[in-house]
Amino acid sequence: MEMTIQNMQLAQCGSRSAEPYDSDSYLSGVKPIWCPGCGDYSVLTSLTNALAYLQLSPEQVALVSGIGCSSRIPAYTSVYGFHGVHGRALPVATGLKITRPDLTVLVAGGDGDGFSIGGNHFLHACRRNVDLTYIIMDNQVYGMTKGQASPTTAPDWQGSELTPHGTGVNPFQPLVIALASGANFIARCFSGEPANLAEILVQAIQHPGFSVVQILSPCVTFRPEQRQWKNSVRMAESGLDTDIRTAARRLMEDDGMTVGQILYKGKRPAYQPQSASRGDIHKLERGFVL
């Protein structure tokens, strides 16, 4: 048989049949609309890699998102997806996970979706501690609406016509808030480090309860200066902090550019209301009889 590129690819797939899923198994084939250079491509790659590492059946995984560039991610994957309205990914995912604890439920979105319009859900998702993994692609800007300041934008950024003098507003510190609100797993990553990101995502998915992974993911269109993030991020020195006070101090003192490590890992059990069917509807109805 003539050796063509095509059948060599097939030969490759065939030789690795021991594991049913590779990272390509988790891609739908729908082409992302993200700008070339966007960090979100990298997040998609790391996520599919992590899912392949975990060998999760695509039909047993659900990926829920809201609105924004990064929230387009479910359609690009081959898992079950839900692309909802702006800011409401966490409640959709919460309702799904509570009623379908058998599924691995992931939530994805951006800084605007998660911390501004969806900020209240973020607080309460941390409190509630449902077994979800929340992947926030933070580029400190609203990309879908032509580049406005987001909650994580520096107060002096003057790149938007909407805030020509900068926002003058203190940036939101998502991981400090997450810790204070009760998130059970907290990490910050950089999309320019996809291997590290995949590793952290695997741990986030495996950890019970609500896991928050903030990913610095550059917007090369509206924040071209973020192309330099690859030079300004620094890998966190040591890993896991199970002591909440140490984690709090570390997060409070950090400038937001420390990446690559789990910054807090808690031991709270995940919230999963149990409800075994005890009776039947007739028992309920007897309660109305005079």
Binding site: G81, F82, G95, T99, R278, K283, L290
Partner: protein, 573 residues
Amino acid sequence: MEVNSLSIIVAGSGGAGAISTGTLLLNAAGLGGWYAYLTRSVGAQIRGGEAVAQLRISRERLASHDDHFHVLLALDWKNLGKFASEMPLAANGLIIGDPDQGEAPSEFLASGARLAWLPMKQLAQTIPGGRPNMVAMGVLAGLLGLPHPLLDTVLEKELAHKGATALAASRAAVKLGLEAIASLPPIARLAAPQMSTEPRWTITGNQATGLGAIRGGVRFVAAYPITPATEVLEWMAPALEEVGGVLVQVEDELAAINQIIGASYGGTPSLTATAGPGLALMTESIGLAVASETPIVVVDVMRGGPSTGIPAKSEQADLNIALYGLHGDAPHLVLAANSVQDCIFTTQWAVHLAETLQAPAIVLSDQALGQTRAVIDRPPETIFSTKRLTAEPPATGAKYRRYTVTETGVSPMAIPGTPGCQYTADGLEHSETAVPSSLAVDHQRQLDKRERKLGCYDYGDAWADVEGDGTLALITWGSCTGAAREAARIWREEGRQIKLVSLRLLAPTQPDKFASLLDGVQHALVIEQTHSRQFLRYLQAHYPLPSQVECLNRPGPLPIRSSEILGKLAKWK
């Protein structure tokens, strides 16, 4: 004189116990074989404000309150006079006051009702632990002619948890009240009940809504408290546990609607209940349920609006937002319960329709239905074969098409976990394969599909309650149906014909069915509890109406009464 029904009011403030007295009397009447109807009305205070229990007891099934009350018993007066318009008294009615509580307000005396005094407080003080409201219970039970043993039974059932001493004190106080009626002027005698072979139920509209939801198969509820819908959620919390479901209290209405969308996407029939302000917050995501074709049920127990409005009192003014509040062209179901008991059927039917048609359903109830407690016959069990059309794993290589265009408009929905059917449910417009699309052709196809699946479905006869016949029609919906039924009954008793039409399915509209049921009708009176005639404008927009149409409308909180309806009809006699 013997009458089929008697209506009484127990009023008081600041822990006087008016509401509990009313509830005990309702239970006693129900046990005795009468039908009963109890609404409560409260002032603006959480504790200590005006509390009014309005109770109607009848040998016949009840649709609403009577126009007038035969007895007003005031444990005290305080600010009660302010609310006199909510408590119309019959001209031959009886006002019972306690001399220790001062003068009766002139607003009540203006009705012409007789005034009598009974020292309830002093009588109660003669018994250690005795309370005036228990004396009042005895007085009212005596006036209504409720047999004494029934009172003992309900006291035992409701008060046993307070201990033997408290129970004995209550019994003694009730007995004093019963004896005291000898000093009061007589009122009409309530006709003896028709005994039923089956025990009756006592249920509120809000509980009935919860029961309908559970009968319909709802197993997940996301709850954010709001007056007057909270009791739906409170009843459902333990009830869902009983049947293997879950209720979660959430951070806000935005979370509530989106959690039920997530749960339903996962295959679990889901519901939330709210009032107008909550519905307003939810509307964006109801649109998401339309676009993503996710079945959900949203109950709106309406109250006075806009904004915080009159939160504890009834109105029907959320009709417009329920019908038209969604952005974009967003076909969805809007249903309205028209009696306390009908809250069961309508909610169950809404779950059935939502699941069958993969669409959101808004169920409109209101404070008047939701917070009314009624004694009713055991409601029939309605069996729907409610089953969502789900997708099976496709043949190898075949691509699952979530939003495939079908003749009915309903396409098989894959439940996560089904191999080979993974798709992304989307609020973005999409192609048949669920890929986001901004193409005109996809938008047109999906809009057509979503409209067709609701438009082509055969809703059967349940879409409207139609009673009677004639060239004259009452057209109404929701809680106004009660007064309309009462008016129609009286009108017919006078030997005339009238047709009553109460729309249960408000959207999608059914123009052909409406036209046929109004065939031959020449005059119609539209009845609604809104200020801006929302229901009339809805009818005018969607339905052919007779040439002569009048509208009887009023905003809340005063209910529309049957006498007003009869007054409007007078010219068509």
